[in-house]
């Protein structure tokens, strides 16, 4: 079954995403900041990443950039889940990459998320 990496600093949202995805049979790897997330990306070989933008150590966009530009990482499809994104955001323009599947705005719909994850894994 597919492995999903969640990088999200809010513990309750992390828990929300975790229980829902685990209940649907996925293996969930959790990270509470960008650095931990990047480490898990390297050592836990996830198939997909759920990425928050407002992280304590660096913006989520930076994680996306590092993943796609640093050859030591194996890039995976990314679903961004954020409470503070505007599509006019310069960072968004810069990091728009083929791996960015979807930007979901908080509060998200769990049903929508599980469908999106399913689709990204196919």
């Amino acid at each position: 079954m597919a492995r999903i990496l969640i990088i999200e600093d809010d513990p309750n949202i992390r828990k929300l995403l975790g229980v829902n995805l685990r209940a649907r049979g996925y293996t969930v790897i959790e990270a509470e900041d960008a650095h931990t997330g990047l480490a898990r990306l390297r050592d836990s070989s996830p198939n997909i990443m759920l990425l928050d933008i407002k992280l304590p150590d660096m913006p989520g966009w930076e994680v996306l950039r590092i993943m796609t530009t640093d050859p030591t990482y194996r890039p995976v499809p990314v679903i961004v889940i954020t409470a503070s994104i505007s599509s006019a955001h310069p960072d968004y323009m810069l990091t728009h990459s083929e791996y960015l599947r979807k930007i979901m705005k908080k509060p998200i719909s769990i049903q929508e998320l599980t469908e999106e994850v399913k689709e990204a894994l196919n």
Binding site: D9, D10, P11, N12, I13, K15, L16, L17, V19, N20, A23, R24, E32, D33, K54, P56, A83, S84, K105, K106, P107, I108, S109, I110, Q111
Partner: protein
């Protein structure tokens, strides 16, 4: 030709009369006719005819025995009657014309003589009473006649002395070509010639003059000399010069006014003003002194001509201990023409050290207050015209206007900057608020829909956990909304403080019930001395502040360490301190932590995160009660936040109730 014709005719007639016969008569007849046809020499012919006829009739009457001669005479008469009559008529007309002409000529001559007599008298009178110097010369320019003024202008006492002198000798060499050219032209074209030149009198005195010259002609119209009026124009020149400098000053003013309006910086405007003043008024020194009211001195803000190093540093005393001070005192221009005679004020060292003898100082009065004094000075005594004083005052007014404009612009720009900053802050705040609302909402909505999901059966424990999380997040959301609302209400001035007099011990102990639950894993120490004055405070708001500070201390310091609330007197205030044993607050964060939504990095735990409004609200609450709040400037570990509350006895009754600002 004509003369010859009549001569020939006369001789032909003579031949005939001397017995030349028919041929002579024929000849005379032809010649006479010819002469008549040409119509000239009528008088001659007529008189000749007269002679001929007289001779003929004499002969006819004297000797009737000459039938042939009679016949000849008859023929001649018949032939000549017509021309003769013509000639006679012509003669009569000629006589009449001659008479007429003669009469006319006589009249004219008489008239002219009379006129000449009159005009000559007039002329002399005119010349003598003329306000101008009048000089008549011959064609070579030698003076023939002149009046007293002319003689004086040329440096002579009497007109007779000037007669015979050449006027050219009195023209300044540099002006000679122009004057000579003018005479030449007048002689050639007639009319009146004009020239301005420098007249150098015999005495050497130079006078700027304007000369108007025309040619004098005799009866036949031949030029005989020149007559000229010479006017002293030194006065006019003076006025012209004044007008010119006045005009120049007006231009300078306009230019500077434009510069002031064009938004040039004050430094440049002052420098340009001073340069122009020195240049336009031809002074040795110029200065702009700025009044420093708190020190009662005037600072040499800018200037020209002063010794190096003085501008920007040297000061002069206000009051009558300096010309500038005296100017401020009188609030009107102070003109000094000779410093040695000055007794209105004592000249400053600055003026004395530069050996200044004269000058003008005027007040630079901006809208709010006298800015200072603008002045010009010279090393030698000098008189100043009203125009110069006005010019200086105008420039001072212009500077004052520029100062005012600048101040307005700066105020306006500051206000705009503030408004923009405020807008930026609002937008940032809204972005943060939006984020802070969405995060708990994500959990609430997410867990609610998780519970409602029909594809998964959650265990009872799981369901309970989800509901607890929803509850926790809903509380967080509620707390956040409360904080934002509190802040908005304080900012809007809607926050009422219920200030009451109470002891410090009571104020803290009343709030202990809220504080204790916060410090489950820390030791809370209260250090309140008994002998503290009562404070005027809102119990509930102070409790809110203390809770917030203690909560922060808990978040930012390791478990098991001490958190201390202490109080001590501080003038008309009581100072409260909340300290912990955490890493402390860095110097650069001491101010920032009171800004809305500012959050420090929490090295102790990433779990306990606020939204960054707690300290902002504390600041507003403390300010609202008349106190202040700040981070203790101590080094090393441990954060200490102090706040003060006013001592009740130090606050006047009328000032309450206090209201948030």
């Amino acid at each position: 030709m004509i003369k010859n014709l009549s001569k020939e005719y006369r001789s032909a007639l003579k031949d005939f009369l001397q017995g030349g016969g028919e041929t002579a008569l024929e000849n005379a007849y032809l010649l006479g006719r010819q002469a008549l046809e040409q119509g000239i020499g009528i008088l001659d012919i007529a008189s000749t005819h007269h002679q001929v006829l007289a001779t003929l009739f004499e002969k006819l009457t004297g000797d009737t025995s000459h039938p042939q001669l009679a016949k000849q005479a008859g023929k001649f008469l018949a032939e000549c009657l017509s021309p003769f009559e013509m000639a006679q008529r012509g003669f009569r007309e000629s006589i009449a014309s001659l008479n007429f002409l003669n009469n006319m000529l006589e009249d004219e001559v008489e008239k002219r003589t009379r006129a000449m007599r009159i005009s000559e008298e007039r002329y002399r009178t005119l010349i003598d009473i003329s306000p101008d110097a009048i000089t008549m010369t011959d064609l070579e320019g030698k003076v023939a006649l002149c009046n007293h003024l002319s003689a004086q202008l040329h440096g002579y006492a009497n007109p007779e002395e000037l007669i015979g002198e050449s006027t050219d000798a009195f023209v300044a060499p540099e002006d000679m070509p122009r004057v000579a050219g003018m005479s030449e032209q007048v002689l050639h074209d007639g009319g009146i010639g004009k020239a301005e030149y420098m007249l150098i009198a015999k005495t050497g005195v130079r006078t700027p003059v304007e000369a108007r010259v025309t040619v004098v002609r005799d009866v036949e119209g031949h030029p005989t000399g020149f007559i000229g009026i010479t006017r002293d124009i030194s006065e006019r020149k003076n006025v012209e010069l004044k007008l010119e400098s006045h005009a120049r000053r007006q231009e300078v003013l306009m230019d500077l006014g434009l510069r002031a309006l064009s938004g040039v910086d004050m430094h440049t405007l002052i420098r340009e003003t001073i340069d122009l003043l020195v240049h336009t008024l031809k002074v040795d020194f110029c200065e702009l002194l700025e009044l420093i009211p708190e020190k009662d001195v005037l600072l040499l803000r800018a200037g020209l001509g002063w010794q190096d190093g003085l501008v920007g540093s040297v000061v002069v005393q206000a009051g009558d201990a300096s010309q500038a001070g005296y100017t401020l005192l009188k609030a009107e221009p102070v003109i000094v023409e000779n410093m040695t005679a000055e007794n209105r004020f004592a000249p400053s060292d600055l003026l004395r050290d530069h050996n200044i003898m004269a000058g003008i100082t005027v007040i630079v009065h901006s809208k709010e207050r006298p800015y200072g004094v603008l002045g010009v000075h010279t090393r030698s005594p000098r008189q100043f015209t009203d125009d110069e004083v006005n010019f200086l005052q105008s420039l001072a007014n212009l500077l004052a206007m520029a100062f005012d404009n600048r101040r307005l612009l700066e105020t306006e720009s500051r206000a705009r900057k503030r408004a923009e900053d405020e807008k930026d802050r609002t937008i940032r705040s809204l972005a943060i608020i939006s984020h802070e609302l969405r995060t708990p909402l994500t959990s609430i909505k997410g867990f609610a829909s998780t519970l409602l999901a029909d594809d998964i059966d959650w265990s009872a424990d799981q369901q309970r956990d989800f509901i607890q999380t929803i509850n926790e997040e809903a509380n967080k959301l509620n707390g956040f909304i409360d904080q934002v609302l509190d802040l908005s209400r304080i900012d809007a001035g809607l926050f009422k403080f219920a200030l009451t007099r109470q002891s410090v011990g009571e104020l803290v102990s009343v709030n202990m019930t809220h504080l204790h639950p916060l410090v489950e894993r820390h030791h809370l120490i209260i250090e309140i001395p008994a002998a503290l004055p009562d404070v005027l405070a809102d119990t509930q708001r102070v409790g809110q502040v203390l809770s917030n500070l203690v909560e922060n201390a808990v978040k930012y310091s390791p478990e098991g360490t001490n958190i201390c609330i202490s109080a001590q007197p501080s003038g008309t205030f009581v100072r409260f301190s909340v300290s912990d044993e955490g890493p402390g607050i860095s110097e650069e964060e001491r101010e920032k932590i009171f800004q809305p939504f500012y959050r420090t990095e929490n090295k102790i735990t990433s779990k306990a995160k606020g939204v960054g409004l707690g300290l902002t609200i504390c600041l507003r609450l403390i300010h609202g009660q008349g106190g202040r709040i700040w981070v203790d400037e101590r080094h090393g570990p441990g954060a200490v936040i102090n706040f003060t509350l006013p001592v009740a006895d130090a606050v006047q009754e009328t000032e309450q109730p206090w209201q948030g600002s």
